[in-house]
């Protein structure tokens, strides 16, 4: 009772905090483009400008002092060393004098300068808009040629047997770009305004001469306007330059700058309050593992927002990765249902799928037809291999976990030899010297790269939806679901659930286990093809080794146990697993910046989840 009460109180406190944060954020967010925001930016801009020119001014004084010192020593008839000494001394003195004397900005009259700068910023912006348009037009004009060149280059590389990566985005060489007349005119206008700014600056620092202004031009231009400016970018730039003191009300500046983060934090607090309030219900409904990982995932989402990482892009990536991994996770379902537990021998299916894919490239079957061919060939091979594998499993009942793991590792090692001796001839597949297949085989538009991802794909902002991939995933899930409701499917689940029960009903336990294992292996073959088409590579040799574990972990996280699973476990598990992986790495990179930690982290996160999932292999409570 009191526990419930205190929980309610905490939730209410969190909600109040959240409401406060959201209201503050919502009030301040529109100010960015309003008067307050402009005032903040203007104040910061002028201060940054003055600081920057102030440095120029010091340099001017130093130059003058040096000149005077030289003249003086010369007049006294001193030698070179004396001159050098005198110059050095004069420089030091001057620097000390001006650098230490902090300018009292409040006494400066910046009205003229502010007006000039505002106009200058507007002119620069309009110039940039014109320039951008012109550049885009140029790129569009030359794109086709550039793409053709890139393709030719790629094919040349393949023919020469070099390693080729995924097709990268082609960039147009801008060296041939010539400024248009419109640009020149706009530029001239802006330059003219710079003269006005220069005059205003001279009014403040009389010592500035034209040559000093000319050297300062680039600096000032960058301060005033940079391509892609908006409130936050400018604010950060000026703050980084140490102009924060210019603000009379630092708090309000901060509020406006971080208004969006305030809203995010508010929403986050609401989510936290809800999770906290309904924690018992959530845990009962979803089980602790899903609540923990779900909360971790939401936390990562908010961290992405706070660190200004593009959440829509990352979520879109999550969706793609969920789609590409889901079929392999789905392959766990028939395995669990028929009682062989987690099919860690999934690599059997994977290598069959890979062979199907290799055949497609070897025979040069393009596009969707090639993908279908790969699935059929891979599926047929997997069915055969799965049958043999099932015979093994039926003879080693009760030891499935160990056997499947061992078989999974063994087949990968065996295939490492096979990849070297299989008689494929295509240059896209083979090493140019000696025998054997390449390590990674890049798929391109002439094969089935992104064939599902790009099917009916559309974009909402930067959130890209891989429609075809998702549809394929749902179709496969639907088929497995339908199968699990058929007479055979029901019998198979009974075998997995309680073999003695099934036997007592006259069900052929071994046969059902064979059906389940074959299905699982075939789904593995389809799964790796879906994965490859999305990834853009087919990876041979040791690459499939970990995939069984990843798939197993995903379904465990989704709530399955080693003896019980549903389709929803596949979808939830894959989403959470891939979501945490996709969002975790960029966030970790921001938290530990400038390191090459990402690969280590990838391994840590993915293996961490696997380990956690396996500790939960008992599954959640019966629901």
């Amino acid at each position: 009772m009191t526990k419930k009460k205190s929980r309610k109180i905490i939730a209410v406190v969190l909600a109040i905090l959240a409401a406060a944060a959201i209201v503050l954020g919502a009030m301040n967010l529109p100010q960015r483009t309003g008067d307050k925001g402009n005032a903040i930016i203007d104040a910061l801009r002028i201060r940054t400008l003055l600081n920057a020119t102030g440095d120029g001014v010091v340099e001017s004084y130093v130059a003058i002092a040096k000149k005077e010192a030289t003249a003086k020593v010369k007049a006294e008839g001193g030698g070179m060393s004396a001159i050098r000494e005198a110059v050095k001394k004069a420089e030091e003195e001057t620097r000390a004098q001006y650098s230490n004397s902090t300018t009292d900005y409040s006494k400066l009259d910046t009205t003229a300068l502010a007006a000039a700068v505002t106009d200058y910023a507007a002119l620069l912006e309009s110039y940039d808009a014109i320039a951008l348009k012109a550049e885009n037009a140029y790129i569009e004009e030359n794109m086709a040629a550039a793409q053709a060149a890139a393709k030719a280059e790629r094919e040349k590389k393949i023919a020469a047997g070099e390693e080729v990566g995924e097709e990268t985005e082609v960039s147009v060489d801008m060296s041939g770009f010539v400024a248009t007349a419109e640009m020149t005119a706009a530029k001239e206008k802006a330059d003219a305004q710079y003269a006005a700014v220069g005059e205003a600056l001279k009014g403040i620092y009389p010592v500035l001469d034209d040559s000093a202004l000319a050297t300062l031009k680039d600096t000032i231009e960058k301060i005033v306007y940079t391509r892609g400016d908006d409130f936050t970018v400018k604010y950060d730039r000026y703050m980084a330059a140490g102009s924060g003191e210019a603000l009379d009300d630092k708090m309000s500046g901060f509020m406006v700058r971080y208004a969006d983060d305030l809203i995010y934090a508010g929403v986050g607090l609401i989510v936290a309050a809800l999770v906290f309030l309904f924690s018992e219900l959530l845990i009962a409904k979803l089980g602790i593992p899903r609540v923990i990982i779900g909360v971790f995932f939401i936390l990562l989402c908010f961290m992405c927002l706070l660190y200004d990482l593009s959440l829509p892009t990352l979520l879109s990536n999550t969706l793609v990765r969920m789609g590409m991994n889901s079929i392999m996770v789905l392959a766990m379902v028939p395995g669990i249902q028929c009682g062989i537990s987690l099919n860690l021998g999934l690599p059997i299916g994977l290598v069959c799928g890979l062979i199907g894919g290799l055949m497609t490239i070897e025979l040069n079957i393009p596009g969707a037809l090639g993908f279908m061919f790969a699935i059929i060939v891979g599926g047929a091979l997997a069915a055969g291999a799965g049958w043999l594998y099932a015979q093994l499993l039926n003879r080693l009942k009760g030891e499935e976990m160990g056997v499947t793991t061992y078989v999974g590792f063994s087949i990968v090692s065996l295939m490492c030899i096979a990849w070297l001796v299989l008689p494929f001839r295509s240059l896209k597949l083979r090493w140019p010297l000696g025998t054997g297949l390449r390590n990674t085989i890049g798929l391109d538009s002439s094969n089935f790269a992104h064939i599902l991802d790009d099917f009916w794909a559309f974009k909402i902002g930067s959130f890209e939806v891989p429609t075809g991939l998702l549809l394929f995933m749902l179709a496969c899930c639907g088929l497995v679901w339908l199968f699990s409701r058929s007479k055979t499917g029901v019998a198979m689940q009974a075998v997995g659930n309680n073999p003695r029960f099934a036997e007592a009903t006259g069900i052929d336990v071994d046969k059902m286990r064979i059906i389940g294992t074959v299905l699982s292996t075939v789904l593995g073959a389809v799964g790796i093809l879906v994965y490859s088409q999305s990834y853009g590579f087919m990876q041979l040799y040791t690459a499939p080794r970990q995939m069984g574990f990843i798939a197993a972990s995903a379904i465990l996280i989704g709530g399955a146990s080693t003896s019980r699973c549903k389709i929803s476990h596949v979808l939830v598990g894959t989403f959470l697993f891939q979501g945490v992986l996709t969002l975790g790495m960029p966030v970790a990179n921001v938290l530990v910046p400038g390191s090459t930690i990402s690969e280590t982290l990838r391994i840590l996160i993915s293996n961490g989840i696997i380990l956690y999932a396996l500790t939960k292999s008992g599954g959640g409570s019966r629901g």
Binding site: N497, N498, A504, T505, G506, R564
Partner: protein, 534 residues
């Protein structure tokens, strides 16, 4: 002066939670006496022995009431090891022997005779050399005392079961200072001649002053071996008898006893005696722990046949054998047609349904919903509750839900709804789901095996009433196997008693307790009476 009794257990009371398994039981054993401990399964024999040996299960569940006196001294036996050092030995029902070791090594295990050597002088006693000669000498004399001429160096692996039993006994005898030996069903695995030999060995041992507690259900052996008998019934002391003052019939009657009123009362009727529904001939079933060694009987159409007997005697093997759940032999005719053996599916297809005694192991899909459990057999065997699309099939949710709801109502299954998982139900309700699954098959013939095991009294009554209702209203022929004789007597038309894998006799439910007691210990009541008359 030595006490009159070597062991006295006074007013022992033991509760497991709310459940009283022993109440106010006393046991007194004189030196050199063979004292038989009798009782049905669950009468409290094992618990009493657990108390005597100080088994951890006793201490872990809150100890026991009453006191234990050894040689007249009040004693607290803390552990089985403690019991051993105080001279109490146990000859186990399951042999605790190392197959790869020789008989000598087994007898002397952990009590080896050793000689110091160079290494042991430096590194301690555990590295001393085994004195095989002395050990084999001891083993020899122990073997001789149990009348075994076998070479003491023979490995235990591959010995006949009877020999292992004697090795086990020899090991206990070899322990110095042993005062009391407990024989737990020692003759269960022995042949008749071996059993006779064992009894003479026991008498031999007893004549040396070692007291023996002899746990068995074979009344004739008790009569042959014991000096005194303590009989337990339902956790209470039923009687203590000296051998002179009792008889086989007396013991049988004391062991069974009337246990109050029947759980359900059914109007009596003349037992159906018309058409034969099932004819079982020479049924042999290889079910571990419940072997059936050739039984033949007829079941009449419309009757309820009870099958009773003590645990491990094979009564459970009969339904499991008929359903071909275990390797079986023999012929079974169902309504005149011969049943194909070897596949449970064939038995089910021919119209027999079975409610298994092993609810959790065989009877239910614990991780699946009640409704899926109920329709499973009908779906798999008869193809019902399915929608068909050419070669493809899909569960017919509406039909499944309808039948599940009907069963839940009829059988009063207490649940949140038909989608609740079977594993989360209470034992009684799980049993009802099992019955519902059998009924969903619309069987002509129903086997129910231990339908009331582990369920509360209310559920028990409902299950039994349901069976009677099915029998009376639908004319379903039912064979019920149960360890609870009272239950069998209350609803059966006839009761078959099984002992040691063989059918002893088929009795009327109103036959006397003595008859049932005799039958359960493998003696056909009619024959015994004849013998008595002769």
């Amino acid at each position: 002066m030595a006490a009159e009794y070597i062991l006295e257990m006074k007013n022992i009371t033991k509760k497991y939670g709310e459940n009283t398994v022993l109440s106010d039981v006393s046991l007194k054993i004189r030196p050199g006496e063979i004292h038989a401990l009798l009782g049905e399964n669950g009468a409290g024999k094992s618990t009493l022995m657990n108390v005597l040996f100080g088994m951890p299960v006793i201490h872990a569940t809150g100890g026991f009431g009453g006191e234990v006196l050894l040689d007249g001294q009040k004693t607290m036996i803390a552990s089985p090891h403690d019991a051993m050092t105080r001279g109490i030995g146990m000859v186990h029902q399951e042999f605790m022997l190392l197959p790869g070791f020789s008989i000598t090594e087994n007898i002397k295990l952990n009590r080896e005779i050793t000689r110091p050597n160079v290494v042991s002088r430096v590194l301690g006693k555990s590295l001393e050399t085994l004195d095989m000669h002395a050990m084999s000498h001891d083993a020899r004399s122990a073997l001789d005392s149990v009348g075994m001429s076998i070479d003491e160096y023979t490995r235990v692996h591959g010995l006949p079961v009877g020999y292992m039993q004697f090795v086990e006994i020899a090991r206990e005898i070899d322990k110095t200072g042993v005062k009391l030996l407990v024989f737990d069903e020692p003759t269960a695995v022995l042949t008749e001649s071996e059993a006779t030999q064992l009894i003479s060995v026991m008498k031999d041992i007893a004549s040396k002053g070692i007291a023996i507690i002899f746990i068995t259900h074979r009344l004739d052996e008790v009569m042959a071996a014991a000096n005194a008998i303590t009989i337990l019934r339902d956790g209470k002391l039923a009687a203590v008898r000296q051998i002179e003052e009792t008889s086989l019939v007396d013991l049988a009657e004391l062991m069974i006893g009337r246990k109050g009123e029947g759980v359900v009362s059914v109007a009596s009727r003349p037992a159906p005696h018309g058409k034969v529904a099932m004819r079982v001939k020479d049924l042999v079933v290889d079910m571990p722990g419940e072997e059936v060694k050739g039984v033949s009987f007829d079941v009449f159409e419309g009757e309820i046949l009870g099958i009773g007997g003590l645990a491990g005697q094979g009564k459970i093997g009969i339904p499991n054998g008929v359903m071909s759940l275990y390797p079986n032999e023999g012929t079974i005719e169902l309504f005149g047609e011969t049943l194909k053996l070897g596949n449970a599916g064939d038995a089910l297809r021919s119209g027999i349904a079975m409610v298994s005694e092993d609810r959790k192991g065989v009877g239910l899909l614990l991780d699946q919903s009640i409704e899926d459990n109920i329709v499973f057999n009908a779906m798999q065997i008869k193809g019902e509750y399915l929608m068909k699309f050419g070669p493809f099939t899909n569960k017919n949710d509406a039909a499944i839900r309808a039948v599940a709801l009907r069963m839940i109502k009829e059988l009063d299954i207490r649940c949140f709804g038909p989608t609740q998982h079977a594993g989360t139900l209470s034992g009684g309700n799980q049993q009802k789901v099992c019955i519902a699954r059998a009924l969903a098959m619309n069987p002509k013939f129903l086997f129910v095996s231990e339908p009331t095991r582990g369920i509360d009294i209310g559920a028990k009554r409902l299950v039994l009433e349901t069976l009677v209702k099915l029998n009376r209203e639908r004319g379903m022929t039912i064979v019920m196997v149960s360890s609870e004789l009272q239950e069998l007597r209350s609803i059966s038309d006839r009761i078959a008693i099984v002992s040691e894998g063989k059918l002893v006799d088929i009795l009327d439910p109103n036959a006397s307790d003595a008859d049932f007691g005799l039958a359960m210990s493998g003696i056909k009541p009619g024959e015994h009476k004849q013998k008595g008359e002769n």
